[in-house]
Structures are given as C-alpha cells and as structure tokens.
C-alpha cells in the first residue's frame, strides 16, 4: 500500500492521482511517460492499440482504460514490456507503408517518435507492402491510408467532437481499413472541413492538410530536439503545481 491516499506506485515511484483518472492520465500528469498511440487527452480512452499495456498488481491491462486505484503496483518501463511494445510498433510499420524518409509527417509523427523511444532499429518482420488507396478528392485534406495505423482517433473526434461521423473502421483483422461516410466513399463528398478536430488529430501522416508539407524546417519539428518521453516530462513540469 502506498503511504499517500490516492496514489499508486509506477515502476517503484509514487504517483498521485485524482479520482476518476486512468493510470495513463495520472502517469502523464506526473511526468511519467507510458508509450501510447490511440489515446488522446481530448478523447474517451478505448484501449485499442495496446501499446500502453502495463502490469497492474501482476495482471496485464491497458493504462489508458484502467482506472488508477490507491495502492496499485504498476510496472511499465521494464525490458519485457518495452520489448513487447517494440514488437507491436514493428508490426505497425510492416503492416502499412510507412516510408519515413520521404514522408511529410517525419519529425512530427507519433509513430516515428514512439519507435525512436522504444529503440526500434529495424522492422524485424517482412514488409507487407499492402495496396491501399489514397484519397485526394478533398480540396484541403489528403487521406493517405498507406500511413493509417487505425488508431481511430479521427473516428472518435469526428463522432464525439465534430458531431459528423465522417470516419469509421470497416473490415476485420488484416482487412481492416478506414472508410469515409459519404455517398461516393470519397473524402471530397463528405462533411469534413479543414478546421474539424478529425482533420487535425491524426498522430501519423494519414490525414494531413494539403500543400503545407515540409513547411516546418528540420530542427524545428515536433520531435527534433526533445523525444516523446522527454516532452511528456517537460509538459508535466510546465503544467505542474
């Protein structure tokens, strides 16, 4: 049991939480990074990417959906869990077509940042090189399914924040893919607007604004100077008590 009420231990360190917070929310608020891709502070957690899997009192669970409870013993930053996370990220890389060298999201991409954080040095698995359609029909937004990791943040944002339900996932397993809710199935015929949350939340380069790629110079991109873990720590310190 931890000594302070409403606290748990994460990798041996005491982490305070507010009632109702998830383990991931409390950890991030305290400056402790747990790798994650499908979770966003603005969206309801849905535990789909499984990257934030931690061991809570001996049992595996998603830190983004598990509520923080007093006295929990949570393990996250362990060689075993990080090794499994690395495998998951490697699988994401080979399942899509993620060509970082030419990608306009490079340097600003959460998938790339998490891969660096987990010290992923190669894809490990053979690339699938799937054939995935690119939808350029929208005047302002490009949908490149090659880079989609099916985190569903656009799906949730469109439904819960924009109130439009533009995006959805269809198919099962390897055939899963992002679909657009419009008569033609094309983004240009949907209700999506450039200012929508769904058009601005993609953690990778699947939904990007047209004609502005590479505008941020190398050195000023999101993860050029601070990695994703260091940024989580800095954010907590900046907003801390």
């Amino acid at each position: 049991m931890s000594e302070i009420p409403n606290s748990f231990t994460l990798d041996g360190q005491l982490v305070p939480f507010e009632p109702g917070q998830t383990i991931l929310q409390a950890a991030l608020a305290a400056g402790h990074y747990i790798p994650h891709l499908c979770s966003s502070p603005e969206l309801k957690p849905h535990g789909s990417c499984k990257l934030c899997t931690v061991v809570v009192n001996g049992r595996h669970g998603s830190a983004c959906t598990a509520h923080a409870m007093p006295g929990q013993d949570v393990q996250s930053d362990t060689p075993d869990l990080n090794g499994k996370r690395r495998l998951q990220v490697q699988m994401l890389f080979v399942e899509g077509n993620h060509f970082c060298p030419g990608c306009e999201k490079s340097g600003n991409c959460k998938l790339q940042a998490v891969a660096y954080d987990l010290e992923m040095l190669n894809p490990h698995f053979p690339h699938f090189f799937p054939q995935r359609p690119v939808d350029a029909s929208h005047p302002d937004i490009l949908l490149d399914r090659n880079r989609c990791i099916m985190c569903e943040q656009c799906v949730e944002a469109s439904r819960d924040i924009d109130g439009k339900e533009v995006f959805g996932l269809a198919g099962r397993g390897l055939a899963s893919h992002l679909v657009v809710n419009s008569p033609s199935g094309l983004l240009g015929d949907s209700a999506l607007e450039a200012g929508d949350k769904a058009a601005n939340i993609c953690p990778v380069g699947a939904i990007v604004h047209k004609r502005v790629g590479y505008a941020k110079p190398i050195g000023a991109r999101d993860y050029d100077t601070l990695g994703i873990r260091a940024q989580a720590r800095a954010a907590a310190e900046g907003e801390g008590p």
Binding site: P101, G102, E104, V134, A136, S137, L142, G188, K210, R211, V212, G213, Y214, A215, K216, P217, I218, G219, A220
Partner: protein, 492 residues
C-alpha cells in the same frame, strides 16, 4: 550506326564482358567483341538500371515530390530536389521567388556542386590520376592517396565537408534534407550560420585553386596523353544565363557543335521535348537523347563540366574565369574533347562554386526572412531544369486537379551522357585494347574513361577505388579462355 557500336558478324567474335559495372541507379556492364587478331569490332556500355521513380511518383501529392525524388541519389540529392521544386513552384502557382529564397536555393546548390565535385576528384578520380592508371590495384584508392599525399587528401575531405555543411545550413541535413519547398524555402539562414560558413570559405577557395593547379601540372606532365585519352568530337549542351554566362541554377539551354558553333541558344527549357528526343536501343535500358533537329546519328551531345565551361561565353567569377580561359586556350580556338579534360573542367567549376558561395554569403539578402513567393492559380504541367554536378537534369511533371502527380519524366544527367560515355570507351578500346591480353590495369582504363564523366556508378561503387568488375575472355565458340574479377572489396 556508330562506329564500333554493332559488329557485322558478332557470332564470329570473342566477347569480353565487364559485368557488373555498377551505378547508383542500378547496374551496367561493358561488352567488347574482338576478332582472332584481337581487333575490336564492338564496344557497348549497357545500363541495366530500373529505378521506377517516374512511375511510383504517380498518385503522390505534388508537394511531396521534391523531398521524395531526391532519394534518387545520395551524392546529388539537392539537384533532384531543386529541379523538382522549380517545376512545383510553377505547378503550385507561385510567382517569382523572393530574393532571399532564390539565393538560399543557389547557396544550397553551389554547396552541392562543391561537395560532389570534391568527392569525385579527391576520393574517386585522384587515385587514378595521382597514383597511375596501372599502379598497384590494392593501393589505387583514397587510402593510397592518403598515404602518398596526406595534405591533399585532407583538403579533399574538408572541401567535401564544407559543401555538405552549406547544404545542412539551408536544408537541415547534409544529405536528404528539406529546405526548398514549392514557392520558396522553409528556413531562414541565421547570422551565426552565415558567419560560420563565411569564416571557412576563403580556405576552400585557396584549396580549390590549388586543385586546379595540381590538375594542370598533371596535364603538363603528359599533355598529349591527357588530350587524346578517350577523345572524340561531339556537340555540347548546358544552361547559360541571359548574358551567356555559366549559371548552374537557372538559365536557357545552349548547345554548341564540336567546332564551337552555336546550335541553339537561350532556349526555354520548358520546351525540351520539342528540342530533344530519346532513342531506344535494344541492348541498353538507358535511352539515348539527341537533338531532334539534327537526328540521332549526329544529334547526341555531352553534358557536365567539360560541356558547360565550353558552352558558356564566360564564368561570372574572376578566379574560375581565368582558369576557363587557360583551358579554352588549349584548343586554339576549337573546343577540346579529351575525356580526361572533364577533370580539369570539374575543378574549375569547384573553384567557381566556392567563389559563388562566398559572394552569396556576403549578400545581405542571404539572411532575409521573406522566404515564400505569393501564391497564384494552380497550373497543370511544368518543367524544372538545373545543372546538376554531372550535367543538365530535366524534371517534367503533370499534376491533376486533386494535387496528385499524373505524369513524370526525368532525364538525368548521366542519361544525357549515354552516347558520350559509349564513345569514350570506344575511343579507349581503339587506343589501348587492341591485341592485348586482358589485365586489371587494362580494365581500369575503361573504368577511367567512364569515371571521368562522374556517372553515378563511380559514386556508388568506387568509393574505395574498387568497382566490382568481372571480365571474361571467350573464344569464337564461346569457351571461357580467361576470367578475371574483383569484388567491391577489391579482392581478385
């Protein structure tokens, strides 16, 4: 039909293959056919490359292209980025670039010229020129140059490094940065970055001058050999500015014939496809460009340093211009065509690049902060052309109404030199191969001729002076008589 391109009775002849002669974009090989008396009947440089960039760039957004296509090459990515972005400036509808944006692009480009020419001369070519074409193979590489000429080798490394640092300051990375984006550039140059480069450029100018003097000493040691090795007459093409001066970033197309007469001048490069055509030959995957008006037989041409310094009227920087005049004097009023003179011209261009970098760094515009042009209406199709280190580089794109590339045609510098490189090795074959037993130094004579053009193959595989080569000597019945090979590590 070109002399030595196709033998009349190939089935009667012995075949010697140098296979593979690799290049960055894929692989090439040299084949020779000889009769019983070892007379050469056929010599071909076959390029068996397939890169596919023109195809897989289709269906990609136009703003991605300048960054993606530079992956064509690790030695001159800046050239591909700038040729593509010049086309995309037009396609995206941007007006004239602000002075700062154009000058930063020029700075990056001349940094590219400097580093590419430095790596070619010091790392790739100097082992042949300083140590000898037929010197001990295991020492005929940059390590051998370091051992015999340590100060020179150090200068070569530092010249290249300086060029790469110029590129990094503009594009964010030494290789494969971003920098140029449709409509301008994405980053201003800071005063600290300007000062850092300005502090180093004078030494680069001095070392570049020394390199030109070195090449002249080599030439003066055996002028007849340097002038005649792999020599052949041909037309020449390159960009010149409005005043007819050398301009490696932008200008109109000019061509001269082998005697120096103007064939065309100040031609808008957007009309390149009505000016040039490409011939396909069954024995090579690389096309053979030629000037349409003259036809495939006589319309082919040289590009790159030796062509450029002779196509222009003058070089707009004083030190390089003096050197250009000395090279021009060699021909006594007629252009020079010796293959090894490419090295001389390349070093003059390296000196010019250093002078241009210095002048750009002294220009107050270079640290300006207006980086983007004013946008205008989108255009469907555009051509971007630049003088890459190896010669004229054409990028041609069409982009659909949804901003996606629907067509791409690239004529890369080495392709422009396809016929010229073939003629060079045929000239070498006539001069040196007939009647000889195949030896490694003999193989190297062919490599030396190809290497003088600085095609991408020497960049890729000659970094340590050891192209992977395999030469087989077969008798008329196709039986193997003799085989010599060495791998990339140089092991025989």
């Amino acid at each position: 039909m070109f002399d030595l391109e196709t033998a009349a009775n190939p089935e009667k002849l012995r075949r010697i293959a140098i296979d593979p002669v690799s290049r960055v974009e894929g692989h090439g090989k040299v084949t020779l056919l000889l009769d019983e008396n070892n007379k050469v009947h056929q010599v071909r440089l076959h390029i068996v490359e397939f890169r596919g960039f023109e195809k897989f760039i289709e269906g990609r957004p136009y703003w991605e292209v300048p960054v993606t296509v530079q992956r064509l090459c690790g030695i001159c990515p800046v050239s591909h980025q700038l040729a593509a972005v010049k086309a995309m400036d037009i396609i995206a509808g941007f007006g004239p670039l602000p002075a700062t944006a154009e000058k930063l692009r020029r700075l990056m480009h001349y940094g590219q010229i400097l580093q590419s020419h430095a790596v070619h001369f010091f790392h790739l070519a100097s082992p042949d020129l300083l140590l000898g074409f037929d010197s001990e193979m295991t020492r005929r590489n940059i390590i051998g140059v370091v051992a015999d000429h340590p100060e020179l080798a150090t200068q070569g490394v530092l010249l290249r490094k300086f060029g790469q640092e110029v590129i990094r300051h503009v594009s964010g990375k030494r290789v494969h940065g971003t920098g140029a984006i449709p409509g301008g550039v994405n980053k201003a140059l800071s005063a600290a970055e300007q000062a850092e480069m300005r502090g180093g450029i004078d030494a680069m100018i001095k070392w570049s001058r020394d390199a030109v003097q070195l090449l002249k000493r080599l030439h003066h040691g055996n002028p007849e050999f340097y002038n005649r090795f792999g020599a052949f007459d041909s037309s020449m093409m390159g960009l010149v500015n409005g005043k007819g001066e050398l301009d490696l970033y932008h200008g109109g197309l000019r061509a001269r014939d082998a005697d120096g007469a103007i064939l065309f001048d100040h031609v808008d490069y957007a009309t390149y496809d009505s000016l040039l055509d490409e011939e396909v030959k069954p024995w090579s995957y690389m096309k053979f460009p030629y000037i349409r008006a003259i036809g495939p037989e006589h319309g082919w041409y040289k590009v790159g340093p030796l062509a450029r310094v002779q196509v222009c009227d003058r070089i707009p920087s004083p030190l390089a211009e003096v050197e250009r005049q000395e090279l021009a004097a060699l021909g006594q009023g007629r252009p020079v065509h010796g293959t090894l003179l490419y090295h001389w011209a390349r070093l003059i261009e390296m000196l010019h690049a250093c002078e241009v970098i210095r002048d750009l760094l002294d220009d107050p515009d270079i640290t300006g902060t207006t980086l983007m042009a004013e946008p205008g209406p989108r255009v469907e199709e555009a051509v971007g052309v630049i003088e890459a280190p190896r010669g004229t580089l054409f990028h041609h794109y069409r982009v659909d109404e949804h901003d996606m590339v629907s067509f791409c045609n690239l004529i890369v510098s080495t392709t422009n030199n396809n016929q010229a490189m073939n003629e060079a090795i045929r000239s070498v074959a006539r001069q040196f191969l007939t009647g000889r037993e195949i030896t490694e130094p003999l193989m190297n004579h062919i490599e030396v001729a190809i290497r003088a053009y600085d095609p991408c193959l020497s960049c890729a595989t000659h970094a340590l002076g050891k192209m992977p080569l395999e030469v087989e000597l077969l008798d008329a019945e196709g039986r193997l008589l003799q085989r010599r090979a060495h791998n990339m590590a140089g092991a025989a």
